[in-house]
């Protein structure tokens, strides 16, 4: 079977008109525009199988949203190919649009002035969902997201978290097989984030939907995705298991040391000192994975150690390193 | 005090200049009605020779002068101020030691007018060549007499609009009230047609209302079509309405601010 999402050499170059200040420049620009080329996505390749949840990572402006927009069909690529469920997304075939969804955390699809229930009914008509199927889907979504109490209030009176729940539910009423989620938890508090996350995991388990999501919150990614794809400056930097990431990109461990008499010893000769803002009591040194045993035994032998821990570096730091490599 | 107005002018002029494209659209929008009325009445007068003493040229000159007069005496305070009361952003201005409606908003209105009049001049000249009005009836003394009338028309109109805008302290439907007020102006100011062509009852009422100061009265002054008696009567009415509108505005504003601070919006 062919993969659900198959991306080959996908590239997008924007032409941005160069604007100079001043009236005469504006007149000149009107007749002969100068363009600057911005390479948003460059020759990206990946395959995603049915039922996978993949985290799509990269710093701001890396090309994540551009890629998602191409895969959902909003943007036409300048080069390369993509197929999703066997469709070419940017042909915008109604059958394709009915089998996928794009949810953007910063955009509203529901009307503000009316209760979400009414917008849902409009979606039912637009996506031609038969009544019984609609009721069934709604019941399931309600079970997972506790929508019912929110349905009767005008959307403008909902909290951000409540609104996001409704936005996501609206995007799923037609039971899409592929979900593109762009920052689905943005702006939510910790419990709100956790609830959405839990929902996505459960939805994926129940329906076997394929999910590609971007998020600023690493917790979203570590909780949901076994696989991540990292892009930076429009180029693919990493594609693989989240647990392998640290091995491949940053084969380091962090040794945290709490000394009996504090700070009187210089630890820098054992490895690189790193800051850890969450834990002031310990000092942290970063060492190569294969050196951990050796350095630890030396530390224990040399110094009056009160407590010692060994851990993987935080995923954020690893990814940060991946961007810079 | 002078310095305050100078600074306010600089700020508001710069602000209006930013919106000059929108302003041009507004100007086009606003121009259409008088030109249509002009076309309708000149066509009637053209067929019959004259309508109730007005010849085709009388109509052309009337509406050509109306374009200028309306621009000078009208204001846009409902659009620039009512929302500040509604969304509460007025509080920031209330704590300043100057009256928000009589300083900043006023200067803002005048800056808006200056720019629209600048935009109007070339259009007016084009219309002049299209309609070829005969302005031989215009006298210097008529123009001079019309200037205080227009200033009075602007001041009274501004105070009345400001008072209506202040109703936003009580109701969210202030724009609907303003639309009603707008219809009243249309009826009694001579905007649609010179007042002598209106039904007798409207003419009789219009004499005692301030709205003819916005258009009919100064236009006819410029065109030299009023008798000495009418001129005196008009200025007396203007004086009376100036006092009424000052008192009325002050009262509405004072009560409104009281309510605003009581609600704590």
């Amino acid at each position: 079977m062919s993969p659900t999402i198959h991306v080959q050499q996908l590239s997008k170059t924007y032409k941005v008109p160069e604007r100079e200040g001043g009236f005469s420049a504006a007149v000149r620009g009107f007749f002969k525009r100068k363009y600057k080329e911005v390479k948003a996505v460059q020759r990206v390749d990946f395959k995603i199988e049915q039922g996978e949840i993949v985290g799509f990572l990269g710093p701001n402006g890396a090309g994540k949203t551009t890629t998602l927009k191409m895969l959902s069909g909003l943007l036409h690529p300048s080069n390369g190919n993509a197929s999703v469920l066997g469709f070419t997304p940017w042909e915008l075939k109604p059958d394709y649009l009915r089998s996928m969804t794009l949810v953007m955390g910063q955009r509203n699809r529901l009307s503000w002035d009316i209760p979400a229930a009414d917008s849902f009914l409009l979606h039912q008509a637009i996506y031609r969902i038969p009544d019984n199927e609609y009721k069934q889907t709604y019941k399931e979504l309600d079970e997972l997201l506790e929508l019912e109490p929110l349905m009767k209030k005008p959307v403008r009176n909902l909290s951000l978290g409540e609104r996001m729940k409704c936005e996501i539910a609206a995007g799923l009423l037609h039971r899409p097989k592929v979900l593109f989620l762009d920052e689905p938890t943005i702006g939510l508090d910790i419990t709100g984030q956790a609830r959405i996350r839990e929902f996505l995991r459960e939805y994926n388990k129940r329906t076997g939907a394929t999910i590609l999501l971007t998020s600023h919150y690493m917790a979203d990614v570590t909780a949901l995705c076994e696989r991540i794809i990292i892009i930076h400056h429009g180029q693919l930097k990493y594609d693989g298991g989240i647990s392998d990431l640290s091995k491949k990109i940053a084969p380091f461990k962090l040794i945290g040391v709490m000394l009996a008499e504090s700070n009187s010893h210089d630890l820098s000769k054992y490895g690189e000192l790193v800051q850890n803002e969450e834990d002031w009591e310990k000092q942290y040194i970063q060492v190569k994975a294969e050196d951990v045993t050796r350095v630890t035994s030396r530390l224990l032998a040399d110094l009056p150690i009160h407590d010692i821990t060994i851990a993987d570096p935080p995923i954020e730091d690893v990814i940060e390193q991946a961007f810079n490599s | 005090m002078f310095l305050i107005f100078k600074r306010l002018w600089q700020v508001n002029w710069a602000e209006q200049w930013q919106y000059r494209a929108n302003l041009l659209m507004y100007l086009l929008y606003w121009l259409v009605s008088p030109i249509i009325y002009l076309a309708v009445w000149t066509s009637i007068a053209g067929v019959k020779g004259e309508v109730n003493g007005f010849t085709a040229n009388d109509f052309v000159t009337y509406y050509m002068v109306l374009l200028i007069c309306d621009q000078i005496t009208s204001n846009i305070i409902i659009h620039t101020f009512a929302y500040k009361i509604q969304d509460g952003s007025l509080s920031g201005e209330l704590v300043k030691p100057i009256h928000p409606m009589l300083t900043n908003a006023l200067v803002n209105n005048i800056a808006f007018k200056m720019l629209t009049i600048m935009g109007l001049i070339p259009i007016w000249i084009i219309l002049f060549f299209l309609f070829k009005p005969d302005f031989s009836g215009v006298t210097l003394s008529g123009v001079l007499l019309s200037i205080p009338a227009m200033v009075l028309g602007f001041v009274i109109g501004y105070l009345l609009s400001a008072a209506i805008t202040s109703l936003a302290f009580w109701t969210t439907r202030v724009y609907s009230i303003h639309e009603f007020y707008f219809a009243i102006i249309l009826l009694f100011s001579g905007q649609f047609v010179p007042l002598p062509l209106m039904p007798k009852v409207i003419q009789d009422i219009a004499q005692f209302l301030p709205f003819q100061l916005f258009m009919y009265y100064p236009i006819q002054l410029i065109l030299g079509r009023l008798s000495a008696e009418q001129i005196i009567q008009g200025y007396i009415m203007a004086g009376v309405w100036l006092v009424i509108s000052i008192l009325f505005f002050n009262w509405v504003w004072r009560e409104g601010v009281k309510r605003f601070s009581a609600v704590g919006a």
């Binding site: 940017w90 409009l122 031609r128 | 659209m25």
Partner: protein, 261 residues
């Protein structure tokens, strides 16, 4: 069938929305009646000073007022609110969602907002037309009534097409959010027969911003002043303009998705 279902879904949603602002709706209807009163008064003023305007009698002008109100309803019930929604969706990016829905995007952009209570204007308009035609001294044949209805529809299709072109331009010039002001500004010219206007204004309202095509022209058909070739021309023009408008809309979408660059 599917289209009708969708339309009724849009309609229901918009009824919901206007119910959320019930009191405003009542006030708006009152203001609307006030303006109708003013329009009739202004016709009364005109006709107390003359017997004909551009060769047309009072009855014909009342009928024209009815046709004008039809066009005005199109403007206020559909074009205005949807333009506002469209411009906002370009600004905040929710246009993306519109494009990704499995329904023709021009259809969505046209009908997603409907000022429902304005539909009562249609009844008023029909009453005005019927009263006006009856007051008119000229006799009208059923064929004339038929061409009148036909040309009123073609006129509105032409205005609608122009609107689509105007908002599609926003895809190229993002800052073009004054897109329909020009249409609204010249709308008032539809209240009176274009024959009373000076030539330059008549050219503008017939060929550039064709308000008169939806107001004066159908009335002329009702009076039997149009020849068959003219009638056919207007029908042809409306078909061509609708076709062109949807082509330009599609080109705009391509521009939006970067397919054309």
């Amino acid at each position: 069938m599917q289209t009708l279902k969708l339309l009724s879904a849009f309609f229901k949603m918009n009824v919901q929305m206007s119910l959320a602002y019930r009191a405003d709706t009542v006030v708006n209807i009152l203001l609307n009646l006030m303006w109708l009163g003013w329009e009739l008064l202004s016709l009364n003023i005109i006709f107390s000073n003359t017997e004909t305007l551009g060769g047309w009698g009072l009855g014909e002008l009342i009928a024209l007022l009815g046709v004008f109100r039809l066009v005005n309803t199109l403007m206020i019930a559909l074009i205005w609110p949807n333009t506002e929604k469209f411009n906002q969706s370009i600004r905040d990016g929710s246009m993306d969602y519109t494009i990704l829905q499995p329904v023709n995007s021009m259809f969505l952009v046209t009908f997603s907002r409907i000022t429902v209570w304005r539909f009562w204007d249609l009844i008023l308009a029909v009453v005005l037309i019927v009263v006006g035609v009856n007051m008119s001294t000229a006799t009208t044949t059923p064929l004339q009534i038929l061409t009148f209805i036909l040309l009123a529809i073609t006129g509105m299709i032409i205005i609608y097409s122009l609107w689509i072109v105007l908002i599609a331009l926003t895809f190229w010039f993002v800052k073009f959010d004054n897109n329909v002001t020009i249409l609204q500004a010249l709308l008032d010219a539809g209240r009176y027969p274009a024959t009373v206007y000076p030539v330059w204004l008549r050219i503008i309202v017939t060929f550039i911003i064709p308000i008169a095509v939806a107001t004066t022209i159908p009335l002329q058909a009702l009076r039997g002043e149009l020849e068959m070739t003219q009638i056919l021309t207007f029908i042809l023009v409306s078909i061509v303009s609708f076709f062109l408008a949807s082509r330009i809309w599609r080109a705009g979408l391509k521009q939006y998705s970067g397919a054309s660059s």
